[in-house]
């Protein structure tokens, strides 16, 4: 064995040599901390006047149920006969291809048509959200016409108009987690159920559509009637869905599609551990 002599080179002081990697890591950590919003929790100042406004807003009716003007009935009938009757029957009592619509109410029809699920090309698979075939007025006309085929009933709700001005997002969150997140997931991204059915994403739903779905229980979804969730609670959930679920606050700066902790963990592992490895290699190169 032989140990070669080597000229003793002058190294920079260890403190200085350690300074650069240390600085890089500290900067990365600081940026991460700031973007993660750990210090962004400053609570907004709420004046007494605003609190009074909020009380007033909460006192107003959270949901008003109404039908569009009946003058649209003939338009609705024409649209129904041209687009719906081939499956649901000219009298709307249903056929072997599609269910009875008499007595389902305007909210049910408005939900299915305004989300583009109806008209449907293939009735053997679960309908998916797509751009609606009809504009708002036409959709309401069809809903109005179908609703006019049966006498009004509590089981056939009219179209809900949700006032979210006084909604309580915290209550909405609690109720959402308990009643909705099981199927739609806490991020509202939707998920698979059994036998090929799925709970759809909530990210494009309007206020009225969320309330309609809750009150009428389309497809495999349970019905959440006023005895289960009051109008107040329903409005809180609607506000939570269209406010928080559809506009999530991503404190980390990157939502990753709101698809949940597994994907987030994977990205953290890949980028976080990958970055640490790069730093380790770099330190090794310098040694």
């Amino acid at each position: 064995m032989r140990i070669l002599p080597r000229k003793v080179t002058t190294n920079s002081a260890p403190l200085r040599a350690m300074a650069l990697p240390g600085l890089v890591v500290a900067t990365v950590a600081l940026v991460g901390l700031l973007t993660s919003g750990a210090f962004a929790g400053a609570s907004p100042h709420r004046s007494a006047a605003r609190a009074a406004d909020l009380r007033a807003a909460r006192a107003a009716a959270p949901i008003t149920y109404s039908l569009p003007p009946s003058s649209d009935l003939s338009v609705g009938q024409q649209l129904f006969e041209a687009n719906c009757s081939s499956c649901h029957g000219t009298d709307a009592y249903g056929t072997d291809r599609a269910p009875n619509l008499v007595g389902v109410g305007a909210a049910t029809v408005d939900f299915w048509v305004s989300t583009g699920r109806m008209p449907l090309a293939d009735s053997t698979i679960q309908p998916e959200r797509k751009p609606p075939r009809f504009d708002r007025r036409q959709t309401l006309s069809i809903a109005n016409y179908v609703a006019s085929l049966a006498p009004p009933s509590p089981a056939a709700p009219e179209i809900p108009n949700v006032n979210t001005a006084g909604a309580n997002l915290a209550d909405g969150n609690t109720l959402f987690v308990l009643n909705c997140a099981g199927c739609h997931t806490v991020t509202g991204a939707g998920d698979a159920l059994a036998d090929g059915y799925f709970a759809p994403s909530l990210h494009k739903a309007s206020k009225t559509q969320v309330a309609e779905a809750m009150r009428t229980g389309p497809g495999n979804m349970p019905r959440f009637g006023p005895g289960t969730l009051s109008d107040r609670q329903t409005a809180d959930i609607v506000a939570y869905v269209v406010g928080t679920i559809e506009h999530p606050v991503n404190r980390g700066g990157l939502g990753l599609g709101e698809i949940g902790p597994v994907a987030e963990g994977f990205v953290a592992l890949l980028i976080g551990v990958g970055g640490i490895m790069l730093i380790a290699f770099w330190l090794g190169e310098r040694a």
């Binding site: 032989r2 140990i3 002599p5 993660s36 497809g219 495999n220 009637g225 330190l283 040694a287």
Partner: protein
């Protein structure tokens, strides 16, 4: 004097290393300063671990835990890496191909020198060694916290019974008593026994499958008045909340492992890993129209456990 004495090929019997060999010097030009810096790193690491432990102990806060654990691991790791780089013999040590095997005397001399040198290194760096040990101990202790916490307290009888008693009112999350008119057909609601809102073992899925009485199984003739059926919300497989009520197919789905239960058939398993049907809560409607429990669950709810018969 140089410790390197070999010239040319072939083995020699000269000593190959000595204390003043420049290759055995630390890489750092000022070992004292390096020692201080490394000591500071290790000490910061110790502080980080201790702060993490305290944070965890007093109740925890995710960001603070992350930061303190990060400081601990980083300070500790950086200190160790810097120690390896700046305070260990710097080399280079080159082994030439034709003299792979040293003589016994060479080997002995070198190993003696290295061993002695190593001892001296450790002896001299007593403070760093202590800090390293302290940090390791602190890290080991705080990492054991979650494990230790999971060991107690003992569940005793709580796995066998719930708070559902004969006559208990069904209430929702806000404590409101459920009446027979509250759910529409196709409706679903999570309920608890009155006075126990929010408890995990008592949570029960109440669904309404019909306007008429529903008999799910022989012997349960009176359990489903006016179409109301109540099942424990705890999956019998792993205890996840079975809250996914598929109203068209009348099935309850567990989101964790896709166990599927038949609502109209007494909660029997249709698919998935669940070993037992969901326990059904017998209901009755009192004279004021309130939904109440006829009796407690007739079996332990949730997943299996050792003592479950």
């Amino acid at each position: 004097m140089s410790g390197v004495t070999t010239e040319g090929d072939g083995p020699t019997h000269s000593p190959v290393a000595a204390f003043d060999d420049p290759h055995l010097r630390p890489y750092a030009q000022h070992p004292g300063r390096a020692e201080a810096a490394i000591g500071a790193c290790l000490f910061a690491g110790v502080l980080g671990f201790v702060a993490y432990g305290i944070t965890y102990w007093v109740g925890g806060q995710t960001q603070v835990e992350g930061i303190t654990l990060g400081v601990g691991l980083f300070g500790f790791g950086f200190g160790m890496a810097a120690w390896g780089k700046y305070l260990m013999p710097k080399g280079p040590f080159v082994e030439e191909r034709h003299s792979i095997e040293g003589t016994d005397a060479e080997v002995e001399t070198l190993s003696n020198a290295v061993a002695e040198r190593g001892k001296a290194v450790f002896h001299r760096r007593g403070v760093l060694g202590g800090l390293l040990g302290l940090g390791g101990a602190a890290m080991g202790v705080v990492l054991a916290f979650p494990v230790l916490r999971s060991l107690g307290p003992q569940p005793k009888k709580t796995l066998f019974v719930t708070d559902w008693k004969r006559g208990a009112h069904l209430v929702d999350l806000n404590g409101r008593r459920i009446t027979v008119n509250d759910l529409e057909v196709g409706g679903a609601l999570t309920v608890w026994p009155q006075g126990f809102v929010g408890t995990s073992q008592d949570q029960t899925m109440l669904v309404r499958a019909s306007f008429d009485d529903v008999v799910t199984r022989p012997g349960r003739e009176s359990w489903g008045p006016q179409g109301y059926l109540a099942y424990s919300k705890l999956c019998t497989h792993a205890g996840c909340p079975v809250g996914l009520y598929m109203e068209q197919t009348q099935q309850l789905l567990c989101p964790c492992h896709q166990s599927l239960f038949d609502v109209l058939g007494g909660g029997t398993q249709v698919f998935g890993p669940a070993p037992r049907p969901l326990p059904q809560l017998p209901l009755y409607i009192d004279s004021l129209g309130y939904l109440r429990a006829q009796a407690p669950y007739d079996q332990p709810v949730g997943p299996g456990f050792w003592e479950r018969s």
